[in-house]
Amino acid sequence: MEWEIVMGLEVHTELATETKIFCGCSTAFGGEPNTHVCEICSGLPGTLPLLNQRVVEFAVRTGLATNCEITRKNKFDRKNYFYPDLPKAYQISQLYLPICRNGFVEITDADGNPKKIGIHEIHMEEDAGKLIHDEFDDCTLVDYNRCGVPLLEIVSEPDFRSADEVLQYLEKLRAILQFTGVSDCKMQEGSLRADVNLSVRPKGQKEFGTRTEMKNLNSFRAIGRAIAYEANRQIELLEDGEKIVQETRRWDDNKGYSYAMRSKEDAQDYKYFPEPDLPPIEISEETIESIRSAMPELPEQKKRRYIDELGLPEYDTSILTSDKAYVSLFEETLALCGSPKDVANWIMGEVMKLLNDTATLPENMELSPKDLAAVIQMVKSNKINRGTGKTVLEKVFTEGVDPEKYVADNNLAQITDLSALRPVIEEVIAANEKSVTEYKSGKTQAIGYLMGQAMRALKGKAPAQEVQKLLHEILD
């Protein structure tokens, strides 16, 4: 039998606001445990939440960028459950009136046709703290730093039919969130998390199968592997005549399998009810319009502009707009040194190679546009040649050297005083009589060898064109 996989995604993203959703504490990642904490986010008796308006703005931005309807009258609800990482024993979230609904993100299906993935809703909520098990003292400690960091939960329709579609959607969504400045989407810091709801059904069947929900997917790679594993598991069960149990499963990426966390029967009753401590939030047409008009350029718009205004090939624009880090580096470097195609080539060639060689994620790249522009400028003005340029960039990338100072300190600049070239070339000619004879007897390729010898003698610092010109001058 041929099976079809059906998936829906719940994506949680931590917002890049300076402060938490209901208090003034910092949202910075890391920090000593329980240092970004106050009476409000630690849920002390008597405290009240105060909504950070930036969160609403970010949610609206995300909704507009994903073609959603924006809810004009918003409310928050309480989701009640006991857990030590949740100091109030309820999470302030939105159940009844989420801020965005009925949107979509466009991807490409297996046949290369555009396909819309529906967004069911996007709602605002607060993150919980973190439990740390101390093996040494055999106790569990709580860090409330992350408690109250604003989250958006983006719930898709069950529109995915393959892991590739899921990954495409996540790439698009990540780019949207990054470009709109809503989130930095660092998966390893937990600022982008995806849960996958998956079921299988015989191809052609209309009804959905019983689904499972998979959690703890911490990288795109893990998502791809977990989907393959879970689809196979379900298909094997069904082919053996067994039933799928509706449950939540946890993916273990080291071991490459998932295991059941809790079944539907153990599902908690969250006893949602409207949050009485926060008044309803009205979002006016003017607010939406002002957010729309101040919205940063999205990847698709950037691509178009790079093609139309900068004359870049479409291939280049796709690569450059695949990550916000590339775009920032590209645009800022361009502003410093001009030459869009040069800058694009350097980023797509050398920079991406260095990222790859050092296993660095683009968002963690420390290369500054100023340094990249300096390298490009030096090559363009013939101060150094392209090969030296690559060496310098690698030093900048790995050791953080100042490119101009490095070139000066290591005497890498090209010889600009052309009169200094002639004596060196004459010496090379004198030392390579055999090649000179060959050349003069008509073996013109012998000049290549002489060229090489001359460049070596000049330590690669002379403009090749000038060296060749001089060689001909002397020999002919």
Partner: protein, 487 residues
């Protein structure tokens, strides 16, 4: 001069005129607390040292012109569910027996800014759940008029402290009558402000959509003065509202000429004791003699008030009280050896019976499958109740009625029959559901000499109007001037 026989405003004036020092005022009350609070148990915590140190600081501030409030230098007691930095805030519950907040409630900051001196923290029903102060984990407060009787609740300590002259004014909180009913039982005045008029920041929540902090004192003028200190928008409370500045003169002029007062017929119906009914009718006569029009009108929605109130209040309470889990602060059971055990035992051992009853009720009405039948229906009733009030306010400037169907019961009479205790809230809970302000004040005594209270219910944010009506009544009567004999 007997300091404790002065009203708060009189005391404030005497301090400003340098007839009394701030320290003398504080010392006088602290001495009285020391000698008589053993009998009444109004206070859970008395802050003697801190109060005296603060008194000297305030004196200096008054002398330097830093504190100019009419209540500067006046001592005050604060209900034990209002957070005070560095001072125990127990909500009269075992589960918070060791809780010392690291921050001050907004109202406490405002008392501080006005130069008031806090004497201590006042007893209450556990987490403000109860109508008698008998659910307190620290023991019942005794009614100063007759120590065999309860003071009412939940702000029993706050009302009894004023009645027994153990504080000139106090702060209480009112979720379903918790300021007005004890004020009525103890023969003092108390104001439940409009929802949103006073910041709830730092008030340990019972039912967030109903809770309001308000003043209690010997008369309406003292309540007006204290209300003007604590009222006003607070950035830390999203449900607090921007309101026009409170006009103290308008709130105390007492002019009733041409005012229209409505009495809900359903406030005088079945269950009301004859003494209470007679006192309300007499109060209506007093208002007529002051030039007001008074008439009785039907308000049949009253019968939905108690079920709607207990559903909404318990639903919010069960969520608000979930944070007391034995993990972060407060009581943690020493008998637990895993997480689930810590939750269950800390909560089972830390909460009292009435609190547990309301947590269970709340969890029940919010459970999946019951939400629409209970909680949603209660929200609909809330809307209808609000509409009934708006309807009434199209015809009347304010409403008049009893605070409670009876006077203060004897200690031990109520807890065995919680349903009866809940029914005693029939005249007060509706006001919280509607969010409107209500002023309770003494209007008579029953045949055993226990005080009877009435309430004046006003339009949203029209505290000045009902305070003024209370002042008018107190200018014409002397119920508020009577005090219990010291026992």
């Amino acid at each position: 001069m007997d300091i404790r026989k002065l009203s708060a405003l009189e005391l404030g004036a005497a301090i400003r005129e340098k007839k009394i020092t701030v320290r003398e005022a504080a010392e006088s009350y602290l001495a009285a607390i020391e000698s008589t609070d053993g009998t009444y148990h109004c206070y859970n915590t008395v802050c003697k040292e801190a109060a005296l140190a603060r008194a000297d600081e305030v004196q200096k501030g008054i002398d330097e012109g830093k504190y100019t409030s009419p209540l500067a230098g006046v001592p005050i007691g604060v209900k034990d569910n209002i957070c005070t930095k560095g001072i125990l805030t127990t909500c009269s519950s075992k589960i918070l027996e060791n809780f010392i907040p690291p921050y001050d409630a907004t109202v406490v900051r405002r008392l501080h800014d006005a130069g008031m001196v806090m004497l201590g923290k006042l007893n209450m029903d556990e987490f403000a759940m109860g109508s008698t102060t008998e659910t307190s984990a620290t023991g019942v407060t005794h009614n100063p008029w007759n120590t065999q009787h309860v003071p009412g609740g939940s702000s029993g300590g706050a009302a009894a402290a004023v009645a027994a002259d153990l504080a000139p004014v106090t702060l209480g909180s009112d979720t379903g009558g918790s300021i007005r009913q004890p004020a009525s039982f103890c023969g003092v005045s108390g104001l439940k402000p409009t929802y949103g008029a006073v910041s709830r920041y730092g008030l340990v929540a019972y039912a967030s959509s109903l809770d309001q902090i308000g003043p209690l004192g010997h008369d309406a003028k003292d309540c007006a003065a204290l209300f003007s200190v604590i009222a006003g928008k607070d950035e830390k409370d999203g449900t607090s509202m921007e309101t026009p500045k409170f006009d103290f003169d308008a709130a105390t002029n007492g002019d009733m000429q041409g005012k229209k007062i409505g009495i809900p017929a359903d406030y005088l119906g079945e269950g009301i004791s004859p003494d209470v009914k007679a006192a309300i009718e007499a109060a209506a006569e007093t208002y007529r003699s002051l030039g007001a029009e008074v008439e009785i009108f039907p308000m049949p929605i009253v019968k939905y008030a108690i079920p709607a109130y207990y559903i909404i209040a318990c639903a919010e309470a069960c969520s608000n009280l979930s944070r007391y889990d034995g993990i972060k602060y407060g009581y943690s059971s020493p008998n637990a050896d895993n997480l689930m055990d810590t939750y269950i035992k800390s909560r089972s051992e830390g909460f009292g019976m009435e609190v547990k009853r309301r947590i269970m009720l709340g969890n029940f009405v919010l459970s999946s499958g019951y939400y629409d039948a209970y909680y949603n229906k209660a929200l609909k009733a809330k809307k209808l109740i609000q509409e009934s009030f708006f309807e009434a306010f199209r015809k009347y400037d304010m409403l008049l009625g009893p605070v409670a169907p009876t006077t203060a019961p004897k200690i031990g009479e109520s807890l065995c029959d919680p349903l009866k205790m809940y029914l005693g809230d029939i005249y007060t809970v509706m006001i919280n559901i509607a969010g409107v302000p209500s002023m309770a004040l003494p209007c008579g005594f029953d045949n055993e000499g226990m005080p009877i209270g009435m309430q004046l219910i006003g339009k949203p944010f029209c505290e000045a109007e009902i305070l003024s009506a209370a002042v008018g009544f107190q200018n014409a009567t002397d119920f508020h001037k009577k005090s219990p004999k010291e026992s």
